[in-house]
């Protein structure tokens, strides 16, 4: 019962915060290019407009799948983010919610992939195959990093226990041991690909394959896809900030979990993580080719996360 109320409260909160995060991202991106940039609440305007636009469904699409998949993607990534948020707000946790959140975030990408490929557009098909390759590239090191954290800390798969472990230790997990900092580095390196920020925006490459999977989506469906993307980006940054860099643990001995201060500290850390892993690369780098991205992810982050596992097995 308690959990249901917590989830119902945190659903709108997640929507609000993730859209604000996207607005801040766009504003910072513009300021770094010496532009004035859109207002911070621009994503809200976009969503209001998109939800009130007409629908055009292509003749080649298989209509049911095409219509349902954006809803699944939005619902799933909102759920993932609100599990994390209600974990901090109300101290709720369940067995294995770390894996559940990772699975939900992967599922939102997969739902968008299936929906996009159901549109029958050749650009969507290209986007589908590229997104598939990208997921093979970044999901593997990301999962290995998460598993290394789960076995290296308590060992536990509950986010709650990992946070308590950091609070007792008085240090963020990334600063506690070499193996954990390697895992954190691998996870943070995977973030731009998971959020398809520019050096790794190969699946949606706006100037090349016109948003790839989203090319046929219009109006409300596009709005749902945008919500899915914003919420999953927010969930990823929040996950990194509470699992690897739980800053409140530095301030107090046995930092209280469900206080407003620790929530705002976590959100600030999440914002900083978003700035460093999504906004800065998106502004200063150019798009890679799919082969280069695959090579990078299997050279650097995979090596980092595997060595983190080995070090953690050696007890470091």
């Amino acid at each position: 019962m308690n959990a249901a109320i917590a989830l119902i409260i945190s659903f709108p909160a997640v929507l609000l915060i993730s859209l604000l995060f996207e607005g801040i991202d766009r504003k910072l991106h513009a300021r770094m290019q010496k532009r004035i940039g859109p207002p911070v609440i621009q994503p809200f305007y976009d969503l209001i407009k998109l939800f009130n636009k007409g629908r055009v469904i292509p003749l080649t699409a298989s209509v049911r799948v095409f219509e349902i998949m954006p809803m699944i993607a939005a619902a799933v990534s909102l759920l993932g983010a609100s599990i994390l948020l209600s974990g901090i707000l109300f101290g709720l946790s369940m067995i294995g919610d770390l894996i559940v959140v990772m699975y939900l975030l992967a599922m939102s990408s997969i739902a968008l992939m299936v929906g996009g490929s159901a549109s029958g557009n050749p650009y969507s098909a290209i986007g589908f195959s590229r997104k598939m390759s990208m997921m093979i590239a970044y999901e593997v090191p990301m999962f290995i990093a998460v598993i290394s954290v789960a076995f290296g800390s308590t060992p536990s798969l509950a986010i709650d226990r990992i946070i308590k472990f950091q609070a007792n230790l008085g240090l963020p997990l990334a600063a506690s041991r070499p193996s954990m900092s390697l895992a954190a580095a691998a996870f943070l390196l995977c973030m731009p690909a998971a959020s398809s920020a520019i050096p790794f925006d190969i699946p949606e490459a706006k100037t090349e394959i016109i948003y790839g999977l989203l090319v046929e989506y219009c109006g409300p469906y596009l709005a749902l896809a945008k919500i899915a993307k914003a919420a999953s980006n927010f969930a990823l940054t929040l996950l990194a900030s509470i699992v690897f860099l739980y800053i409140p643990s530095l301030l107090w001995e046995n930092a209280p979990l469900n206080s407003g201060i620790s929530l705002s500290l976590c959100l600030t850390t999440a914002l900083l993580i978003m700035f460093t892993t999504m906004t800065v690369p998106r502004t200063i780098l150019a798009r890679l080719k799919i082969g280069q991205a695959l090579k990078f992810y299997w050279m650097v982050p995979l090596t980092l996360s595997l060595s983190s596992i080995i070090l953690s097995a050696a007890g470091l």
């Binding site: 004035i36 859109p38 209001i48 007409g54 055009v56 948003y211 596009l222």
Partner: protein, 140 residues
């Protein structure tokens, strides 16, 4: 409720740009309007690649015979509500090409146009002001 919707529409006009036989002068000025100096994105405009995402159709060039069916098709693919802006003298009046047998234009002979931006090519300020005027008058 209706005011919120119309404010959302005014604040985020996404633009699809179609060249119907223009000399590329207007197209370069449209791109210039998105550069940091003029920064159309501060009004919420985005240059999108697919007509399905767009609210505003920017048409440049007198409509050539080859582009006629494509112009109509792109116009029909944009979901309602939509705005058409004719950029440049060719799109607005057909100017030097009017009467040629290769030219079916100007644009308002084929699809309804909301705003005309004249000039050969028009300045980026004029393009920005034309888009905002069209959106304000249509979506208010």
């Amino acid at each position: 409720m209706f005011r919120i919707v119309s404010r959302g529409r005014i604040k985020s006009p996404w633009i699809f740009h179609l060249n119907t036989g223009s000399c590329n002068g207007c197209d370069i000025e449209i791109v210039a309007a998105f550069t940091p100096r003029y920064d159309l994105e501060r009004f919420g405009c985005l240059l999108v690649g697919s007509p399905r995402h767009a609210d505003v159709l920017l048409v440049t060039g007198p409509v050539t015979r080859q582009m006629l069916p494509r112009l109509i098709r792109v116009y029909e693919q944009i979901p309602e509500p939509k705005v058409v802006v004719a950029v440049g003298t060719c799109a607005s009046s057909g100017s030097p090409f009017l009467g040629s047998e290769m030219v079916e234009g100007p644009v308002d002979r084929i699809i309804p146009v909301d705003t005309y931006i004249v000039g050969c090519p028009p300045r980026p300020e004029a393009i920005a002001s034309g888009i905002i005027t069209a959106v304000m008058s249509k979506f208010r």
